[in-house]
C-alpha cells in the first residue's frame, strides 16, 4: 500500500435494501487522494456520491471492497475525516463560535482551549465579528463558511466536502470558492470534494473523477493542469474551456431527468 496516499478506495460497492427491492447505489469503485491533493467527484444527481462519502466517513459500511485512510484499513474510520454534508447543519441554539467548537466538544477538548481555538480560527478567516451571533442571523453564504470552519477545526488533515456550495447563488458561490482555496492552502489539507458544477470542479481541483448514473462507476479520471494558485480568470484559458466542453458532453450523456 502506498503510504503517501491519504485515501485509498478499492473496489468499494454498496447495495441498499429498500423493503423487498435491492437498490445498487455503487458499482465497485477505485479512487485515491494523495497527501495535500484536491480531488473532485462529479456525477449526475442521485448517482451515489453521498453514499460513497458516508462510507469513507465511517457512517456506512461498503457491501464489498476496502477503504484505507493514511494507509490504515482497520475500523473505525469515524473521526478520521472532517465531513461536511450538503446542508450547513448549524445548531440554532449555539452561537457561531460554539458551533465551530462542536467537534472539539465531541472530542472532550477542555472548554477554555476549545473557545480559544474557535476564536482564533474565526478571526483568521474574517468571521470574528459574528462569533456571538446565533445562526438564524446569518445569510446562506455565511452559514456555509461557519460550517466549513467547524469541519476544519474538527479535522483539517482530510476534508470530505459534499457539495458545500450547491445551495448558494452563483455570485456568492464565486467568492466562497476562492475562500475555500485559501483555507485549503493554509492547512495543507487533503480534500475530496463533490460538485455538480463543471466549472467549479475545474477551478478547484487537481484531479476530477467523473461518475456514471446510478449505480455509479468511474467513467473518466481527468487531471487538471492549470497553474496554482488558481484565479477565476484561469477558467477562460483555452485548456480550461476545452476541459469544460468535454466534461459537459460526458455528463449530459449520463443525465436522465
Amino acid at each position: 500500500m502506498n503510504s503517501s496516499l491519504k485515501l485509498l478506495v478499492q473496489g468499494v460497492s454498496r447495495v441498499y435494501q429498500d423493503g423487498p427491492r435491492q437498490v445498487e447505489a455503487l458499482q465497485p469503485i477505485d479512487l485515491t487522494v494523495d497527501q495535500g491533493e484536491f480531488v473532485t467527484i462529479i456525477g449526475p444527481s442521485g448517482c451515489g456520491k453521498s453514499t460513497l462519502f458516508n462510507i469513507i466517513a465511517g457512517i456506512d459500511e461498503p457491501s464489498s471492497g476496502l477503504v484505507a485512510i493514511d494507509g490504515i484499513a482497520e475500523e473505525p474510520r469515524a473521526g478520521k475525516t472532517g465531513y461536511m454534508l450538503q446542508q450547513p447543519l448549524l445548531l440554532p441554539w449555539r452561537t457561531v463560535e460554539e458551533n465551530v467548537m462542536l467537534g472539539l466538544d465531541v472530542r472532550h477538548v477542555r472548554r477554555k482551549e476549545a473557545h480559544q481555538q474557535a476564536h482564533e480560527l474565526l478571526k483568521r478567516f474574517g468571521l470574528s465579528e459574528f462569533a456571538q451571533s446565533y445562526p438564524a442571523r446569518l445569510s446562506g453564504g455565511m452559514k456555509q463558511r461557519v460550517a466549513l470552519l467547524r469541519t476544519v477545526l474538527f479535522n483539517h488533515s482530510f476534508l470530505l466536502l459534499d457539495e458545500p456550495f450547491g445551495a448558494l447563488d452563483a455570485l456568492t458561490r464565486l467568492s466562497l470558492q476562492m475562500w475555500l482555496l485559501d483555507l485549503w492552502q493554509s492547512f495543507h489539507s487533503s480534500v475530496l470534494f463533490i460538485t455538480h458544477d463543471v466549472r467549479e470542479a475545474i477551478l478547484l481541483s487537481d484531479r476530477i473523477y467523473v461518475l456514471s448514473a446510478r449505480p455509479a462507476c468511474v467513467r473518466r479520471i481527468i487531471e487538471v493542469e492549470l497553474p496554482r494558485p488558481r484565479q477565476q480568470e484561469h477558467l477562460a484559458l483555452a485548456q480550461a474551456v476545452r476541459l469544460e466542453q468535454e466534461l459537459i458532453a460526458l455528463l449530459m450523456k449520463e443525465q436522465q431527468i
Binding site: 465511517g58 446542508q87 447543519l89 445548531l91 441554539w93 462542536l102 438564524a136
Partner: protein, 259 residues
C-alpha cells in the same frame, strides 16, 4: 417591546368585556334567573367577599397542580426518551399511550380514591395522567425530528449515542417540549379540580361542589373564574420560562417575522 406585547392583547380584552357586558344585560333583563346564571358583577363581588376562603382552596389546588405537572414532566420526558430508543419500542408503547388517553377519567377517579386515599395521591395521579401525554408526544416528536444528517455528522465525528442525545437531540427537542408543556399546563388545573371533585378535604374542586350543594351557584362561578385565571397564569409562566431558556428561539422567530 413590552408595551407592544400588552397592546397585542387589546382586541381579546375588548371582546371579553363585550361578551361579559352582554351576559350581564341578558341576566339583568330577566331572560334567565340570576340563581341559574349569576351576573358577572355578582360573581366578581362574591369572589372578593369570599376571597379569604377561596384563596385557601386556590393555594391547595395550585399546590396539587404544580406537583402533578412536575410528575407529568418527568413521566412525559422519560417516556419520550423511551419512545425514542428504537422503532420497536415506539411501535410497542405508542399505541398503549394513546389507549391510556381513551380511558374515561370519570370512571377511574373513584377507583383511584379507593386505592390511594384522599390526600395528594389521587390528585397528582389525575393531573399527571391528564398532562403527561402531550408532553411525551411533543417531546418524542421533537427528538425524532432531529435532522438525520445532523446525526450523520456527529457519527462521522465518532460521537457516542449519549453525546448525540446531549449535544444535538435534547436541545433540538426543547421547543417541541415547551409547546407540549404549554398544552399540559393549560389542562393541568382542570385535572386537579377534577381529582378534588371526587374526594378531597380542600381545594377549588371541593369548594365548587359544596357551593353547588349549598345552592350558591355564584360561588361556583367565582371558583371557575379562579380556575381559568390560574390556568392562564400557568400557561403564561411556561411561555416566560421558554423565552428565558431558549433565547435563540426568539431570534429565529424574529427573523422569520421579518421575512
Amino acid at each position: 417591546m413590552k408595551l407592544r406585547w400588552i397592546a397585542s392583547y387589546g382586541p381579546a380584552f375588548v371582546l371579553a368585556i363585550t361578551l361579559l357586558a352582554l351576559w350581564e344585560l341578558y341576566v339583568r333583563a330577566g331572560l334567565i334567573s340570576a340563581t341559574t346564571l349569576p351576573m358577572p358583577t355578582a360573581i366578581a363581588q362574591a369572589l372578593f367577599a369570599n376571597w379569604d376562603i377561596i384563596s385557601v382552596h386556590t393555594l391547595q389546588t395550585l399546590f396539587e397542580t404544580v406537583i402533578g405537572l412536575s410528575v407529568a414532566i418527568l413521566l412525559g420526558a422519560g417516556l419520550a426518551v423511551l419512545l425514542d430508543l428504537s422503532a420497536w419500542v415506539r411501535r410497542a408503547v405508542y399505541p398503549l399511550l394513546v389507549t391510556s388517553q381513551t380511558i374515561p377519567m370519570v370512571a377511574l377517579a373513584p377507583l383511584l380514591v379507593l386505592w390511594f386515599g384522599f390526600d395528594l395521591g389521587p390528585k397528582i395521579i389525575v393531573v399527571a395522567l391528564y398532562c403527561f401525554f402531550p408532553i411525551a408526544v411533543a417531546c418524542a416528536d421533537g427528538l425524532m425530528s432531529t435532522d438525520p444528517d445532523l446525526l450523520k455528522l456527529l457519527q462521522s465525528m465518532r460521537a457516542s449515542r449519549w453525546e448525540m442525545l446531549w449535544l444535538v437531540r435534547l436541545p433540538g427537542a426543547m421547543p417541541a417540549f415547551f409547546s407540549g408543556l404549554r398544552i399540559a399546563a393549560t389542562y393541568s388545573v382542570t385535572g386537579a379540580i377534577f381529582g378534588e371533585y371526587v374526594a378531597a378535604y380542600q381545594g377549588l374542586g371541593i369548594y365548587m361542589e359544596t357551593s353547588y350543594n349549598a345552592h350558591a351557584v355564584v360561588l361556583v362561578f367565582a371558583a371557575i373564574v379562579v380556575t381559568a385565571v390560574l390556568s392562564l397564569l400557568l400557561f403564561g409562566f411556561v411561555s416566560l420560562i421558554e423565552r428565558i431558556a431558549l433565547p435563540w428561539q426568539q431570534e429565529a422567530q424574529a427573523r422569520f417575522r421579518l421575512k
